[in-house]
Amino acid sequence: MIRFDHVFKQYPNGREALHDVSFEVKAGEFVFLTGRSGAGKSSVLKLLTLIERPTRGTVTVNGQETSTLPARAIPAYRRRLGIVFQDHQLLMDRPVYDNVALPLMVSDTRFRDIDKRVRAALDQVGLLGKERVSPAELSIGEQQRIGIARAVVARPTVLIADEPTGNLDHGLAREVMNLFRRFQDVGVTVLIATHDMALVREFAQREILIDDGRVFSATPPDPGSGASPTSGMGVVA
């Protein structure tokens, strides 16, 4: 599902963010990408979301080699990913509904289906009934849940989260992680970048440790792990 093959990433300022990084995440797996700040986690996520391209090596997602993907194909590629940000990246001047509906609005989804799926996604994250509320009126935890609902509303096969619990207290962080676990249960591949080691230990999932741009430990995926690959996310009906 996700495969990094001898990936190097050097930025224009000369900084080498990734050095010969190789790992694999199987379909339906739940994997933590860990490491201290500046270790290279964000670079991995940027390569996955095609914000950046590798200097060398190949990144393959859902069987698609991303380094050769033409620019015009990037939007369609991104629509198959669900992305959760540490700082939520919400549109504060739009209600919750519009924020969650955004990935469906940019695709060809019919309005009738959008409504159904937005409500289902909000239900999943416990925010049903707050469609018309501005995100600014909600707590940080609720804002993060809006971000998660937005990430899963288009039924992605891969869910990527960048420090999704970075601004949350431990209770809220556990709540968010449990949400991710529920998505994994229905076949979504989940890759979470975090430096919250307590949480990583608590959830006891496979871990890819990255430091100074190099992968230090990446246990190979257990052939038996992960849910059966599915093309969509069944949770959001």
Binding site: T49, A76, R78, I83, Q89, F111
Partner: protein, 308 residues
């Protein structure tokens, strides 16, 4: 493949979104529309000046006429035949034959030389025809072509026409038309710049929203769409406001211009924008608006990339 219903609903939504954005910034929106209205009203006013000048000049050019003097030995029957032939010529509007006897009688009546004329043995005057060109030929080139044609008849002694004033008048009208064209182009470019700049500022203000939209799979076309609709709205309302400004200006001038014309014995009435001209102005404004928005948005939006 996107269904037509979804396609149109996406566009309708982009249009509503554009309206919403503009309504949320009423002052900025009104100022932009005002600037566009002035930029469109200036060439439109000049257009009306040209149009009214042509109408006024048309009254004058109605009096253009050529006098064709036949040789004195041309009999009346021949003059009548040639008069009929002249009527068939393209470009000829009206032909009047003045037989030599009628001319002499008239001269006798008004000149006061009756006794002197009685002393003459015969009629020294030739038959004359007066030719008025039709509207298409009431210009220096048309009149010149008629003059050449009529002068070539062997029975004609001379063709008289003082065309210098027609040439001058036409040159003035041509100059006004050119000034209008220059104004229209310069101010059209101005509208493009105004709309393009307004849209660029809007895009810069919404940069983070664009980044998020792209990160969840929004295409450049999707992001661009509401901004293009904003351009259309700016142009549409700017054009409509320009029609209003020009109509008000014309309405305020109709009475004094009519009074001035009356002082010169004319019945000239100032003409405003025709409905079709008003529509051209409004839709032309929209076209400039969408073009300006495209110029302002296309490259800038393509350059904005998600940062994650």
């Amino acid at each position: 493949m996107i269904s037509p219903g979804t396609y149109f609903s996406r566009h309708a939504q982009a249009l509503l979104s554009a309206f919403g954005r503009l309504i949320r910034q009423p002052l900025g929106t009104l100022l932009t529309i005002f600037v566009i209205a002035i930029a469109l009203a200036l060439p439109s006013t000049l257009w009306l000046v040209v149009k009214n000048a042509r109408i006024a000049a048309g009254d004058v050019t109605d009096s253009i006429e050529l006098s064709i003097f036949f040789k004195t030995d041309v009999p009346l029957e021949k003059a009548e035949q040639l008069t009929a032939a002249a009527r068939q010529r393209p470009g000829v509007g009206e032909v009047t034959l003045i037989p030599a006897d009628d001319a002499l009688e008239e001269f006798r009546r008004y000149s006061g030389f009756g006794a002197a004329l009685d002393a003459l043995q015969g009629n020294p005057l030739p038959h004359v025809i007066i030719v008025r060109p039709d509207t298409a030929y009431a210009n220096p080139q048309g009149v010149e072509s008629l003059k050449r044609y009529l002068s070539a008849w062997p029975e004609v002694e001379t063709v008289q026409f003082d065309g210098e004033w027609v040439r001058r008048l036409t040159a003035i009208l041509d100059l006004l038309r050119n000034v209008f064209a220059v104004f229209a182009v310069v101010l059209g470019v101005g509208v493009l710049a105004v709309v393009g700049n307004a849209i660029r500022l809007e895009i810069r203000a919404r940069r983070s929203e664009i980044e998020v939209t792209k990160l969840v799979g929004g295409t450049n076309a999707f992001v661009r769409r509401p901004f293009l609709f904003e351009g259309v709205i700016f142009g549409l309302f700017g054009g409509a406001a320009a029609v209003g400004v020009v109509s008000l200006a014309v309405a305020s001038l109709i009475e004094p211009v009519g009074r001035l014309a009356a002082l010169y014995g004319g019945r000239f009435a100032l003409t405003g924008l025709e409905p079709l001209e008003a529509l051209v102005l409004i839709f032309g404004g929209s076209l400039l608006g969408v073009l300006g928005a495209w110029l302002g948005a296309a490259r800038l939006i393509a350059r904005i990339e998600a940062r994650g």
